[in-house]
Subunit: 435 residues, 2 copies
């Protein structure tokens, strides 16, 4: 019983998907039941790593969606439009959709989910987060019995590559970025990665699944690695930490009387203790740590990008739809786990009200008693300190690094402002969250 | 639409499952649709961490299976019998089964799978391997597009706890085992764990899923940690390795003309380079590394045992069955991914024909030239060496450690025998596989 698949896009990921579908030997036998019926490309003349019959290729993506032989629509073209419109068109035609497009899901996820629920079709997105790492399906299905406390992840390979090299080589951000661009690990315009927007897209998706309701993407506080200094990476190492761009979604208390679950969702460079499970995730790899009750801590690790890994995730979704179709046919009901419709409302808490540990680096005059003054100032502001060390000094200026205990952001900012006003303190040179 | 659940056993895991089912708030809403109808216990008078209505409790497990209100049978009693018979009884009655019982699946999996396929019901086993770590479902569903090259894992928490402490403290195996028994991390009779049988049960299950056909459990070469010496753990560390009890299932070439896939499946203490993803897995945690084409390397990490994690996995399976039931009702077809029936025949290759790297420790007379003699002997036997070092000597005897490159087991054993015959060599004191 063959199942017709239509592919929108035949770039890196699309070619990877086509390669799997056209070589089913040794894979799950259900792969052999998938029949690639139509593929939309921009330039039919381009040479590609996978060869397909000419009659399968078209330059009209709507023709793929509309082809009656296409039963599952796979969107791997990327970008917001026409991807969004094509996804909605497939849903309207009652065809399930598989997409690797995190931007479209992070920005138009609610619209797409509503349309899919209305029409009763699946929209599956395993490839949108974590490349080849199975994380969407485990969150939706394998961890459904849990109350999720926190999802935290290294979910942008480009920045993790840059941070790994900064840590290994003591190199400056700009130099490593330039090299990463040369090697193809960073885009010519690296903003989406290095400013944290890509990670914010992805944590919005993970949070929506983990907590059962959409998260306002635009409201996620996002800080990238583009202003991170090599010396903070080096100081962190001296103190037993590594710096990673972490995306976090954390439950704050129980739902309120209206049933709304408060969440703390954010993206920023973060100091992790070296023995933290995420601390050893290096290079372009990704990892997502899920903390739940009663499962405890489980982590998913692997290649966060690339044609092969991403294609593996896309095919997983196609297989899931094909497998479920054997249960009840195309007209059957939806599996609520796989469909992952919203079941709760979520709201982000105000950043000033959240609590974290912090790493702060002060530049001060190099004179006796400054450490004591900073310690005293934090103490009188009610900020409890784990350690305070003078790490270096040059030309009359000293560098003092403080690691705080958990403190409410508002109180911490107030304390920093007060300390910065001390005449011995030149500046707050860096301030980073710490796990 | 409530779905009736029957529980066989209310020990640690059973009570954990009951605790989730009776407190659905904050979990996936489908948990609220699960109705715990009947629970079989051995001693109804025992005080338990979860309180259930008296009419739900019975001492007759068959009454749970036979109860018409029970639509899903959950076996968490452990042991081979009556677990096996009760599972078969549930299947015969057309009721899907969830079990956390790795022994029964490793030993009677083929019989159970055949009965389930014949009757068209699911038997789900997420909790049987890796405790709370989602690994069974990802292998069956999320990685179905891949050709799996190798599955390797730390899948026994007790031995990993012992090995972690041996490495951290330089302590002897016997002393750590005694302490682990005192702390409840090891059983009074630790044989199943420390001799590797539990890990062999689990890798048999994983291999069956990864390669699509049952693996003969009894034929898996199994070596435990019970003869491991503290000095080999220490030498390994000096050379940049950690010692872990690894369970491995590796594909050897393509299927033969009869369609049989050759596999190298084994359990033994193994030296891992410190930067290997599994090297940092410590304490009672488990992790499974899956290598596939085209996904590359993905790893699943988390708590390998305990009431909460195992209950999380059991409930995942119950939810999957309940979710699928909403697609097509109890009479619908099976999802071939979830059902995971065999689609290929597998056979184990003879151990002597497999190839590995090795760590060997020789005790020799402490005299000049011995290193050269050993190196020459390996060389003339065609065994390529990565490093050879003299690590210690006392009382006229020296300890010489060799790390080989990949070599066929038969050739390696031959070389060892030849070297042991040298008059300068006292004995082959240890020989361990190396990744």
């Amino acid at each position: 019983m063959a199942i017709g698949v239509g592919l929108l896009g035949l770039g890196t990921v699309g070619a990877g998907v086509a390669a799997i579908l056209t070589s089913p030997e040794g894979r799950h036998p259900l792969v052999g039941a998938l029949d690639l019926k139509k593929v939309a490309v921009r330039d039919p003349g381009r040479v590609r790593p996978v060869s397909l019959p000419a009659e399968v290729i078209t330059t009209d993506p709507e023709a793929v969606v509309d082809d009656p032989a296409v039963e599952i629509v796979v969107e791997v073209m990327g970008g917001l439009e026409p991807a969004r419109s094509l996804i909605l068109r497939a849903i309207a035609a009652g065809k399930p959709v598989v997409t690797a497009n995190k931007s479209v899901i992070a920005r138009h996820g609610e619209e797409i989910a509503a349309a899919a629920a209305e029409r009763g079709v699946y929209v599956l997105i395993e490839a949108a987060v974590g490349g080849g790492i199975p994380i969407i399906e485990p969150l939706k299905q394998s961890l459904g019995g849990n109350r999720i406390q926190r999802v935290s992840g290294i979910i942008n390979g480009t920045t993790n590559y840059i941070l790994s090299r900064m840590a290994d080589e003591g190199a400056a951000y700009g130099a490593v970025l330039a090299d990463a661009q040369r090697l193809g690990y960073a885009e010519a315009d690296p903003a989406a990665d290095v400013e944290g927007h890509d990670a914010a897209d992805k944590i919005a998706i993970l949070a929506g699944l983990a907590y059962g309701g959409p998260v306002p993407r635009a409201a996620i506080p996002t800080e990238g690695i583009d202003r991170l200094e090599a010396r903070d990476v080096a100081y962190a190492a001296q103190l037993g930490f590594v710096v990673k761009l972490l995306a976090v979604a954390q439950r704050i208390g129980d739902p309120d009387d209206a049933g709304v679950q408060a969440l703390d969702v954010r993206v920023h460079p973060t100091l992790l203790p070296v023995d933290h499970p995420l601390a050893g995730v290096n290079g372009v790899n990704n990892a997502i740590l899920v903390e739940g009750d009663p499962v405890g801590r489980v982590m998913f690790y692997g290649p966060g990008a690339g044609a092969g890994p991403t294609a593996s995730a896309v095919v997983a979704d196609i297989l899931n739809i094909a497998g479920i179709r054997q249960v009840g046919g195309p007209q059957a009901g939806l599996d609520p786990l796989l469909a992952a419709s919203s079941w709760r409302r979520c709201a982000l808490v105000e950043g000033a009200l959240t609590s974290h540990r912090n790493y702060v680096r002060f530049r001060t005059h190099d004179q006796p008693g400054v450490i004591g003054q900073i310690g005293t100032a934090f103490g009188s502001a009610g900020v409890s300190i784990q350690s305070i060390v003078q790490l270096e000094c040059d030309g009359g200026a000293a560098e003092i690094v403080v690691i705080t205990h958990d403190v409410q952001e508002a109180r911490f900012r107030e304390a920093l402002a007060a300390i910065e006003a001390h005449p011995e303190v030149l500046t707050v040179a860096a301030s980073l969250r710490t796990l």
